[in-house]
Amino acid sequence: MIEVIKKYLNMFGLPRLIITALFIGICITAIVIGLPVSLLASDVIRRFGMFGILALAMVPSIQSGTGPNFALPIGIICGLLGSLLTIEFGLTSPALGYGFISAVLISLPFAILSGWVYGILLNKIKGSEMLVATYTGFSIVSFMQIGWVTLPFTHPEMRWPIGQGLRVTVSLDSSFGEVLNRVWGFSISGVYIPTGLLLFFFGCCGLVWLFSRSKSGIEMNIAGANPKFAVASGINVDKNRVVGTILSTIIGAVGIIVYSLSFGYLQLYLAPLYMAFPAVAAVLIGGASTSKVKISHVLIGTFLFQGLLTVALPVANQMFPEGNLSEVLRMIVQNGIILYALTKMGGGV
């Protein structure tokens, strides 16, 4: 009996169990202290759809063998650039999804190019991807801080009224703010369902899943799972790693556009610095490891992690009005799960 329990426990993973228990516990607390359930549920669903694509960006990178993409900020910067250019050139007609479609299309070439260059870099440093990725992300974000000040954007909604450079947050009210959320959106007993947002997220998941079933997707999976076997079967491992990195960067770019859209603002300067970590933590919570991932991990992980954070915020504020308990909780859960995954990697490379 104990053996069986142990087996299932191992399969499910202790941290996942703790986080699930925590989530359920906090949900019950929220109901007990009388927080509006319908509002909370709407929020959880919105955050789930809003954050999911960023977590989805981890799938191709883990599958191609480069590990969780800690350099997600590269994709994020591309997405931000696409959105900024869209607003700058006023490509916000309803036919272009009020700018959403044009933002995605403009960010694509940036994402492909930078993902390609970054993928080649990753091939040179096999075995230390996560660390180098983290600092590549940090470097790009801090470099783009100079960019946000110096790039010749002129649109008055983006620039500081006085002084140089772009604003720290750029409002999307007049362009594609919340457009996806409103598509076919409806309320059931006070719970708002942002149908368009969810459909887009599931659609992206479906595309990634379809890709992983295709010939090149299977090749990429083999190259990531067992490079030696892949070489023996005539698969170009390095090429597949580059493809995985490009895909991850593209999804990252789309992810930040959807995130900003649902959030209502583009966040520039230091905002993208730590964005990779919650995304990595989400897939790990969902059951992925640094070398294996499934779409279901993204869905479960994003729901658990974002749900936990969303519900914890008002609950924590009720219990401790001052001090940011939910932020502390986020730090512990997020980094704890990454540490746990690192210890499971097995020593030595």
């Binding site: 440093i125 096999k126 470097s139 100079i146 001090g323 540490l339 690192l342 030595g348």
Partner: protein
């Protein structure tokens, strides 16, 4: 200033002079590049030299100890220890306790050291357990461990103080009775501000002149003795560079003293400097002991170390403990100079800045000396001081200088880590081809 470093890093090979110069230029291309950037920054910032010297000295003396704590893990093969953040937290716990008990001045400082040490040892053991389970990924693990520990640290100080930990001190605890304040003032009468620095101040250039004169005498005697006994071990290039650099330092110091320039007012906190010198000496002399040899063996190759009977995990644990303890002390030295403890912020960027500094000094993931650490701190802080003003003068925006500085700190770490990983991979491929 740079002389101190070159004395340490120039290799004592019996090669001819031009080869030595080439090797020196190649080995120290990073510090040389940043020396040029710093000099350009100093020029364009148009800041008065006295201001730069004063600020720089202050920053270098308060930061060097922390950066020196990075050396031993590098030698022991653990890479750059991002976990010094956790050591810094131990130091901050101690500072909060000592501030609560109102022990001021030098005794207060020593009390901090005394309290921080056992906490840091325990933290060091925890980090070592983690890193021994994540061999090959030590740096990312120590970095994430730092983030994780920061969460736990905030949880303890924000929510356990006043609830589980009974602390009722209105100077420390928030008005609601739970949680430590965001900033703790150390400048009060019973505070720790300058508790170490204020023991003794002395004009910098007197100290420099004295040391330079002493060094010249020592290396001349050394050269003379070697020439008599073992002439083949003489390295003319090294001797001449050492002599020129120390002579230059002596000349500049004497010039400042003779002309009675205002630079004479630049004062050095002697005891703090002695602390830094002691850690430097410790880092050098531990390498001559059995322990130091174990560090080196483990750092070189864990398999070989295991075969030759070294307890790898234990050696790595000791290296981490040493580093964490010194990081805790380093944070105390840092904060007693700053004078305010930002409870939830003082430690956060310590690892990034210290590691960027040591890399600017020419260290790498597998090789680091104390000289590189000090040179790196000097360069990093020069950049820190001049870049906002230089950015303003060059681009009309102080922000750009600051962003550039942030980019350099992250970028230099990224490039160094990338180069190291690339190098490791190239070597692995070569080994495979040889086998």
């Amino acid at each position: 200033m740079a002389g101190v470093n070159e004395v340490k890093t120039t290799k004592t090979n019996k090669t001819n002079t031009s080869n030595s110069i080439k090797k020196f230029l190649f080995d120290s291309s990073v510090p040389l590049l940043f020396i040029i950037i710093c000099l350009a920054g100093v020029y364009f910032s148009e800041l008065p030299l006295l201001f730069i010297m004063n600020t720089l000295l202050k920053r270098v003396t308060r930061n060097s100890f922390m950066v020196l704590s990075l050396i031993i893990p590098v030698i022991a093969g653990l890479g750059l220890n991002f976990g010094i953040v956790i050591g810094a937290m131990a130091g901050q716990f101690a500072i909060i306790a000592v501030t609560h008990f109102k022990i001021s001045g030098f005794p207060g400082f020593m009390m901090c050291i005394l309290l921080a040490t056992p906490i840091a040892i325990i933290f060091g053991i925890f980090i070592a357990i983690l890193l021994n389970r994540t061999k090959g990924q030590e740096m990312i693990s120590s970095m994430i461990a730092g983030f994780f520990a920061n969460g736990v640290y905030q949880f303890i100080l924000l929510f356990l103080v006043g609830t589980l930990i009974p602390l009722r001190n209105p100077d420390l605890v928030l008005s609601r009775g739970i949680g430590i304040r965001n900033t703790i003032d150390l400048t009060t009468a019973t505070g720790l501000k300058y508790s170490l620095d204020n023991v003794l101040w002395y004009p910098l250039f007197y100290v420099l002149a004295g040391i330079a004169a002493l060094v010249i005498i020592v290396i001349c005697i050394d050269y003379y003795l070697k020439r008599k006994k073992i002439p083949e071990s003489i390295d003319n290039f090294k001797f001449i560079t050492q002599l020129i650099i120390t002579a230059a330092i002596l000349a500049v110091s004497l010039y400042v003293i003779m002309t009675g320039s205002i630079l004479i007012n630049v004062k050095l906190p002697i005891i703090t400097t002695l602390f830094i010198a002691a850690l430097w000496w410790f880092n050098v002399s531990i390498m001559k002991t059995k322990m130091g040899q174990d560090f080196r063996t483990v750092g070189h190759d864990m398999e070989i170390a295991k075969i030759s009977g070294v307890d790898v995990d234990r050696t790595r644990t000791i290296a981490m403990i040493i580093s964490t303890v010194f990081a805790a002390w380093g944070q105390i030295i840092f904060l007693q100079n700053i004078g305010t403890l930002s409870t939830y912020g003082s430690h956060v960027s310590i690892a990034t800045f210290s590691i960027a500094a040591i890399l600017l000094g020419g260290a790498s993931v597998t090789k680091a000396t104390s000289g590189q650490a000090i040179l790196g701190v000097i360069l990093f802080h020069t950049l820190f001081i001049v870049s906002p003003k230089a950015g303003n003068n060059l681009f009309g925006d102080a922000q750009i200088g600051e962003f550039f500085r942030a980019f350099v700190s992250y970028g230099v770490i990224g490039v160094a880590l990338g180069l190291h990983a690339w190098n490791k991979r190239v070597q692995a491929i070569r080994r495979r081809l040889d086998a």
